[in-house]
């Protein structure tokens, strides 16, 4: 662990206790994240990426959930910390941008007040200072005439503007880590690009690391330095964005890539869908979780679970018994 490592996740398990048995939503995830780095976590619905991001935040339902392993955020151990202890890092060390800007702002409080809140309560600013800073933040996230916008209700803003406000509230405590859980899913495509570019720019301005959770590979392609591909609660491939796109070894990663539209495709090209459905987390296959849907699956895949192994490139690992040949890789 080098000095500029911000987040260390080690063998993290999040298991829900359901009436039909334990459900391992996150099953042994380890990774590190450096300062000012952007990490993309990609996977299908139900691959455990949202639960993973919430576990890293230390946000779990009060009961029926068991978390083991370790999440070390700038020296603070999140796993096992009480709410009171976690409140010391929430907002100031780590902040979160939610998926749906329609529900993540309080509808009856003025926009400015929602940003003020953390400034006054957590940073102990005076009323006037907090207001000035809140207007500054609104300007930073690209809201025009921020002084006027300070007084409006969320209902008076469009979805994209609201997401900008959500980002402004997240930035208020100058966090070192920003968790963005599908920050653009609820927005129009044109606005999506704006919000992502904004996050990218803010990352440099605010000197923070960003974890971008998404199911959309197009979102992470140009904006992340590293990518984690998740399947059934585990990491199946991870590496630099370039390596994952160009030299991926895991058939699942390729399937995901082939499932996204590309401008270079001739028109009317059919997108390849991954056959079958994500596995039932209550009843995972004995071997590789992807084996039932994988074209390359062998008996070994069905019997033994592959562990992450190093690929040729530094920092690039994958979990597969029958990896794709090194040369085969579609440049992004």
């Amino acid at each position: 662990m080098s000095d500029d490592t911000l987040l260390v996740v080690k063998d993290l398990h999040t298991t829900f206790d359901t009436p039909r048995g334990p459900l391992a939503a996150v099953g042994g995830v380890s990774f590190e994240l450096g300062q000012n780095e952007t990490l993309g976590i990609v996977g299908e619905s139900g691959s455990g990426k949202t639960v993973l991001s919430r576990t890293i935040m230390g946000l779990q339902p009060r009961k029926n959930v068991e978390v083991t392993g370790s999440v070390r955020l700038n020296g603070f151990e999140v796993v096992g910390a009480s709410e009171k202890e976690k409140r010391t890092i929430w907002g100031l060390e780590v902040a979160m941008v939610f998926q749906d800007p329609m529900t993540s702002l309080n509808p009856v409080l003025r926009v400015g007040k929602q940003i003020d809140e953390i400034l006054r309560v957590r940073l102990g600013m005076s009323k006037a200072d907090a207001k000035a800073r809140a207007i500054e933040l609104l300007e930073l996230v690209g809201i025009p005439s921020p002084t006027e916008r300070y007084r409006v209700y969320p209902g008076e803003l469009s979805g994209g503007m609201r997401q900008r406000v959500v980002i402004a509230t997240a930035l208020a405590g100058s966090p070192k880590l920003l968790m963005a859980d599908e920050p653009t899913t609820g927005l129009d495509v044109t606005i999506q690009a704006q919000i992502l570019n904004l996050l990218d720019g803010l990352k440099t301005k605010m000197q923070m690391s960003v974890v971008l959770v998404t199911h959309d590979l197009g979102v992470v392609a140009t904006r992340t330095s590293r990518i984690i591909v998740m399947y059934a609660g585990r990491i199946v491939e991870t590496g630099s964005t370039r390596d994952v796109f160009a030299h991926h070894r895991m058939p699942y990663t390729r399937a995901l890539l082939e499932g996204s539209p590309k401008v270079s495709n001739p028109s009317h090209t059919r997108l390849l869908a991954i056959p079958g459905r994500p596995p039932n987390l209550l009843d995972l296959p004995k071997g590789c979780a992807f084996a039932p849907r994988c074209a390359f699956a062998t008996d070994q895949c069905r019997e033994e679970r592959p562990e992450l192994e190093a690929a040729d490139e530094p920092g690039h690992t994958f979990a597969c018994w029958n990896p794709l040949p090194v040369t085969e890789g579609v440049p992004a």
Partner: protein
């Protein structure tokens, strides 16, 4: 698309110029109702200072008289001034309704919010208890308790009606809070480091308050009728103290001789209730920011 930024600018432009909420007015009728309620409440408070005929004074020279200049709304079968009895009678109605709602909301509302926010065992136990209480018809329960808890006093009525209101308030407030407590903005406040108390007071309360206020107004109206019903059954304050309910009750004996006796107190109660309901309804739709565009 010669200039790719053109589209972005257009989009920016459109989202910036989203119309601010139109300044909606509460309307003349709303203020009329507020004025009427204010008049009633002021009358009740300052009844002693107003140049009114003593509501208990029996003038046998004018019995069962219709409205006149001296007796604005006439007199009853004992020669007492109806107008002054209505003004003094409003005291009982208003005291009982405000007092009972104070108890009902003072206990029911915080419990409801807490239960909806915390969920789990606390909520399950509390809700079960409340639903058991709700299973008793409130009016029958109040009548039963008041029949046996003698001698009756205003305070006892307030306490009994107030306790009967707790589960109703609890249910409404819990339901309203539940609707908001599961939204992302609560989680968002939490990961900003807000304490539970702060989330309840600063995030949830402003959302629940409009619903609470309109329910409070409906509640006051209901208690006014309930007091009327109790008085009608002779379970409210003892005569000769006037209350709207017992005035209506007493009027029945002379209904054929002097219908004014029933009409005026009924009208006073009716207008009071109507105004409260209208104010509640108007306020709810006016302050319902949350549902306008979300």
């Amino acid at each position: 698309m010669s200039n790719p930024n053109f589209l972005n600018e257009l989009v920016e432009e459109a989202s910036v110029h989203t119309q601010p909420l139109r300044k909606r007015r509460l309307g003349f009728l709303f203020w009329l109702c507020v004025g009427w309620i204010a008049l009633n409440i002021l009358g009740a408070i300052f009844a002693n200072l107003l140049p009114l005929i003593n509501p208990l004074f029996q003038n046998y020279n004018v019995v069962n008289a219709g409205p006149s200049l001296h007796h604005l709304l006439g007199t009853d079968d004992l020669g007492r001034d109806i107008f002054s009895r209505i003004v003094f009678g409003s005291r009982v109605s208003i005291e009982v309704s405000l007092g009972a709602m104070l108890i009902g909301f003072g206990i029911g509302a915080p419990l409801g919010m807490l239960a909806a926010y915390r969920r789990g065992t606390f909520d399950a136990v509390l809700s079960t208890v409340m639903y058991v209480f709700l299973a008793f018809p409130a009016i029958i329960a109040t009548i039963a308790v008041l029949s046996f808890w003698t001698p009756r006093s205003l305070l006892k009525i307030i306490v009994v009606v107030g306790i009967a209101a707790i589960p109703l308030v609890y249910r409404v407030i819990r339901g309203a809070t539940l609707n908001f407590a599961t939204r992302d903005f609560v989680v968002a406040a939490k990961v900003q480091g807000a304490t539970d108390r702060r989330i309840l007071m600063k995030e949830l309360l402003p959302n629940v308050a409009p619903i609470g206020v309109s329910f409070l107004l409906v509640g006051i109206a209901t208690v006014v009728t309930l007091e009327g019903a109790l008085a009608f059954l002779g379970l409210s304050v003892n005569p000769p103290t006037p209350s709207w309910g017992n005035m209506i009750n007493e009027s029945l004996a002379n209904l054929q001789v002097n219908p004014w006796l029933a009409i005026f107190p009924s009208a006073a109660m009716c207008l009071f209730l109507l105004s409260l309901n209208f104010i509640g309804d108007r306020l709810r739709s006016h302050y319902d920011i949350s549902e306008i565009k979300l």
